[in-house]
Amino acid sequence: MLTKLPFSVALCAILCVVCVQAQTPQATPPPPAPPRSGTFPKPAEQTLPNGLRVIVVERTESPLMAAQLLIKNGGEVDPPELAGLADMTANLLTKGTQTRDATQIAQQIESLGGSLDSGARWDASFATVGVMSSKIPQAMEILSDVVRRPAFKSEEVERLRQQYLDNVTLALGDPGSIARFVAARVVFGDSPYGHPVSGTAESLTRITAADITKMHSRYYRPDNAILVIGGDINAKDGMALATKYFGDWQKPTTPLPTMSAPAVDAAPKTGRIVVIDKPDAGQAAVYLARTGINRKDTDYFRGIVTNSVLSGYSGRLNQEIRIKRGLSYGAGSFLDTRRDVGPFVASAQTKNESGAMVADLLLGEIGRLSSAPPADVELTPRKAVLIGGFSRNLETVNGLVGQVGSLALYGLSLDEINRYINNVQSVTTADIQKFAGTRLDAKTSNIIIVGNAKAFLPELKKKYPNVEVIPVAELDLNTALLRKKQPAE
């Protein structure tokens, strides 16, 4: 971990709960030695005349490189009836350009030993290549071609539509996937973050090649894009390649599209208890979901440290649910920060019979953040988990490019990488108590359980008489009501 930080850090020496003096050579663990420090590569950046922001970050340990082209809009701009449009558009980039068909693109990039992926997240669309560093120019040429000159042929649209529909069918067979979809609808209602980013069976059938072309011409423009190049390449060479393959990408004369309206409903639904009854489910997926924070929130670091107290192997959720009670293979939580307020989700899968008990435990642990906030002896290791994971992520070329790209996307200083450790370290017990009490209040959370309802519903009803039960066959992900309209008889 702790790889390559530009200053000496004592983050390894954080705490050792077991460092007592040894009496016999083997009875207690030997204490740690003083930590070593490392340094971290510094990104170089430049904005081309056409508005494209280019960032190069060198890391020479392995002969690998990755380049990611980010478009600053994703599923958030899908029109409500066309859920999945941004994701299908991004995915189709690699399925044919004006001079290459889908087979040739795959053939050429894979012949380099490389990979090329594209898709949409909530607030960005992306295309990423990864190759060994001796193949960089060829890979950059292909990346440029797919982003700038996609063909969107109707036969490719049809092919991809069928693949997306099959994936919807597959996802609806899995209790965990169903719970994720339902949680988004429950928290965000009919606002943009409420729909599945890859669409629903109904919305996917409505998307046309014309919709896709329009989406591309509107958002895929150099002044709405960021190019991050990372790995075994220096800043000068990286900038030269960016200029060669993206420098003549014309900026349209039309103004940039304005950002979408805030993602959260004016009055988000709270306290909904939703059960999706799937009688053949081999396990129940239990989700507690509510709104969290956006990425630029001044509480960001307080938020991620709070989440780390709950989540991770020795986090409170897994301690209570897995380690103490053996109720799950793993319990955890996720504070998903986006351009707008994203969700906070705590979840576990458990045998159907213990669905209600696990819901109680999830709720209890959120509440306990306020009533019993972590003292330093608990907090310090949870900060170390965050810092270690962050630093390890930066050890790989893909991780490095992803981190830098994410900071750039949200308009944050790239130097935040170097301040990350201090920012995490400065969070206090009082910060966590306040954050949990004001931003993660358990009382305004929603509960979603997907599983064989017969096994846990009686128990759940005792506590929540207002529970909504929806048979999986009647589930409709196109609406916050979650229920298909009954056909008129």
Binding site: T3, L11, L15, V18, P25, G114, M132, G173, R392
Partner: protein, 450 residues
């Protein structure tokens, strides 16, 4: 923590790359390692890399689910979980305090042949972790409450891996049905009944039988001083005695298949799936390299043959895969397809078989062969970006291939694979009589159709 199939490979010299594929600029670093064996039989492999202040520690035990005691399928894996509970001098979960709490991590995996424990920590904790690994090799001291709650965790792992995902049982059945005699017929995760039958007594017995220094390989990769590390290994592992009782080994041989096996099963899946398996030789066999290249040609990426035929051109399948799943005693080559809406399993089977036949009937082109090799090299480079990845490669070469230096020579073996080799192994192992065919159909079609 179960059946992570490690397909790590390996590096080769600059010279070889230049000769075979002409990458003027790509350097593929050799993994320089040292090897020694303590008097008690513990093998120690170390590779220093001081580029970042972290270190990976792994202990490979040569025991896997093929060694599960009779009536205790899933036991080797359950035991892996118990190894995180208490020892004479460590409380339950103390290993998490020594790793996770200081910014590192730990985990473990069990497969058919090995159980591997690993940690990555800031390098100033190396001595602490050497002590901790020696401690859990010396003995466990687990109480019944801890044992039972961890057994419940493993049962949830079974539900989460086998019962909840739509194709979890399909994969389980493919392994279970592919072996008739060899204990590989017991999937690593086991069964709920056998897990319920396991007891604390089994735990102590299993530890005494298999967790001994002469059945273990310690691998350390990352930031350390060689002399200091050697001293710590001697100090903490050296005093552990080598037991005099013999180390049991599986002797059962899987008989060759004499005719095609056809099976149909039903599950909670909405789209049918088809799986084919062929028995192939043990991992150390010389043919494994050609089979691996064939696997890459069949299913790596969207330019692969199966993707092109079944997913892209015919639109028969939502998902395809192939896997040269190597094992120590006998291996499986799997081909699977999850069908697209409204497609017939018979057609998917026919198309999978057509791709097998094409590889038997004609040699692959030079360009396709080079593409596969480039894909494999890039994969290896990615796996070796981290100390933990390097340590996994070293451990696999030593324990499963019997020679740690194969960490540096195996990629040369792959480079040497020719189009004729691929055609030869496809003819040799993909006979109709060596095939198992599993149709995994939605439960609903059973009720309607039969």
């Amino acid at each position: 923590m179960v059946r992570t199939s490690i397909r790590l490979v390996l590096s080769l010299s600059l010279l070889l790359i230049l000769q075979s594929i002409g990458f003027a600029q790509t350097r593929m670093p050799q993994l320089k390692f040292t090897e020694r064996t303590l008097a008690n039989g513990l093998r120690v492999l170390t590779a220093a890399d001081r580029s970042s202040p972290t270190v990976a520690i792994q202990v490979w035990y040569h025991v896997g689910s093929k060694d599960d005691p009779p009536g205790r399928s899933g036991f080797a894996h359950l035991f892996e979980h118990i190894m995180f509970k208490s020892t004479k001098n460590m409380k339950s979960e103390m290993l998490d305090r020594l790793t996770e709490d200081v910014g590192g991590f730990n985990n473990a995996f069990t497969n058919d042949d090995v159980t591997v424990y690993y940690e990555v920590v800031p390098s100033n904790y190396l001595e602490t972790l050497i002590w901790a690994e020696a401690e859990r090799l010396s003995g466990l001291n687990v109480d019944d409450a801890n044992f039972k709650s961890e057994r419940d965790v493993v049962k949830e792992e079974y539900r989460q891996g086998v019962l909840a995902p739509p194709y979890g049982r399909f994969e389980y059945l493919l392994q279970q049905k592919s072996f008739l005699e060899h204990p590989y017929k017991r999937p690593t995760i086991g069964s709920i009944e056998d897990l319920d039958a396991a007891s604390l007594k089994d735990v102590q017995e299993f530890h005494a039988t298999y967790y001994r220094p002469d059945n273990a390989t310690l691998v350390v990769v990352g930031d350390f001083e060689q002399a200091q590390l050697d001293g710590w290994v001697d100090k903490y592992f050296g005093p552990i005695a080598k037991p005099s009782r013999p180390l049991p080994r599986v002797e059962v041989k899987e008989p060759p298949r004499k005719s095609e096996i056809r099976l149909t099963e039903h599950g909670s899946n909405d789209l049918p799936a088809v799986g084919l398996t062929y028995l192939t030789p043990r991992q150390a066999d010389a043919d494994s390299d050609a089979l691996r290249v064939a696997d890459t040609i069949l299913s790596a990426g969207e330019s692969s043959r199966l993707y092109n035929s079944l997913v892209y051109n015919q639109q028969l399948a939502a998902d395809i895969n192939s896997s040269a799943e190597t094992r120590e005693d006998a291996s499986l080559f799997l081909l699977t397809a999850v069908l697209s809406e409204g497609k017939k399993p018979e057609d998917a089977e026919k198309s999978l078989l057509a791709e097998v036949k094409k590889l038997q009937d004609a040699p692959v082109s030079a360009a396709e062969l080079e593409k596969a090799k480039n894909q494999i090299i890039t994969d290896q480079l990615r796996q070796r970006e981290t100390s933990n990845g390097k340590a996994l490669a070293l451990g696999e070469a030593a324990v499963l291939l019997g020679d740690p230096s194969r960490v540096n020579t195996d990629l040369a073996r792959l480079q040497a694979v020719t189009a004729a080799d691929i055609q030869r192994v496809m003819k040799k192992y993909f006979a109709d009589t060596n095939r198992l065919v599993l149709y995994y159909l939605p439960e609903a079609t059973k009720k309607e159709g039969q």
